[in-house]
């Protein structure tokens, strides 16, 4: 079974600074998706960034980028120029490429932005 581990229950960063959230996963599959979802207090899960395992290039979305290390099964999220609106729970998630199977989530990291 696939597992996703987030070892940082809480992180904080000064506004405008950079922060990195860690995630490791375990799978025997060679092709899969990895995601970072953001969950603000409103509770709705919002996709931040997606990575396909067969792509060597790290995904980037504006201020958000990932460091995907397939051999190490590591998938960290870097947030640059942190903004107050970035404060939320961040979940790392895994999904098989084929079929419409479930997302498997980590336990989350609560990110606080210090003004």
């Amino acid at each position: 079974a696939q597992t996703v581990t987030q070892s940082q229950p809480e992180m904080s960063v000064q506004e405008a600074e950079t922060v990195t959230l860690s995630c490791t996963y375990d799978t025997s599959e060679s092709d899969y998706y990895l995601f970072w979802y953001k969950q603000p207090p409103s509770r709705q899960m919002i996709l931040v960034i997606r990575q396909e395992a067969y792509k060597q290039q790290n995904a980037t979305e504006n201020r958000f980028s990932v460091n995907f290390q397939k051999a190490a099964k590591s998938f960290s999220l870097k947030i640059s120029d942190s903004q107050l609106g970035d404060a939320a729970m961040y979940f790392c998630a895994y999904r098989k490429i084929f079929g419409n199977e479930k997302l498997t989530f980590g336990t989350g990291t609560r990110l606080t932005i210090i003004p």
């Binding site: 998706y33 509770r43 709705q44 997606r50 396909e52 998630a93 419409n100 997302l103 989530f105 989350g108």
Partner: protein
């Protein structure tokens, strides 16, 4: 495009009472998921539908939980009778045939059992 719609947003009940949650997925999305999210935890899958067929319900506590998606569109998740440990956020998500891998989530229903 309308997102995933869930209701109610909040529900407070006494233990042993029944409760139901409703979800309307994004139009055209054939796959629908119900997740449960306990406080401070990541969501965990309860059941997955492909159209009207439940294709993964291995984590659904079938003694008290039931779900249906009769016409392959909206879905209802029911708990009867509720227990104190059922207090959680119940999230609905959907995904389409265009396989980007992404699941689209509703705002969730927060259940408090007293």
């Amino acid at each position: 495009e309308a997102g995933v719609v869930q209701s109610p947003r909040y529900k407070i009940i006494e233990k042993k009472q029944p409760v139901a949650f409703w979800c309307n997925p994004i139009s055209g999305h054939n796959t629908l998921y119900w997740y449960r999210q306990n406080l401070g935890q990541g969501p965990e899958l309860l059941i997955r539908y492909e159209n009207e067929e439940a294709v993964d319900d291995s984590q659904l506590p079938k003694d008290r939980f039931s779900a249906e998606r009769l016409k392959g569109v909206d879905s209802t998740l029911k708990i009867q009778p509720a227990e104190l440990g059922d207090s959680a956020v119940y999230l609905c998500a959907s995904s389409g045939t265009r396989n980007t891998g992404e699941l689209f989530f509703g705002e969730g229903s927060r259940l408090t059992v007293l």
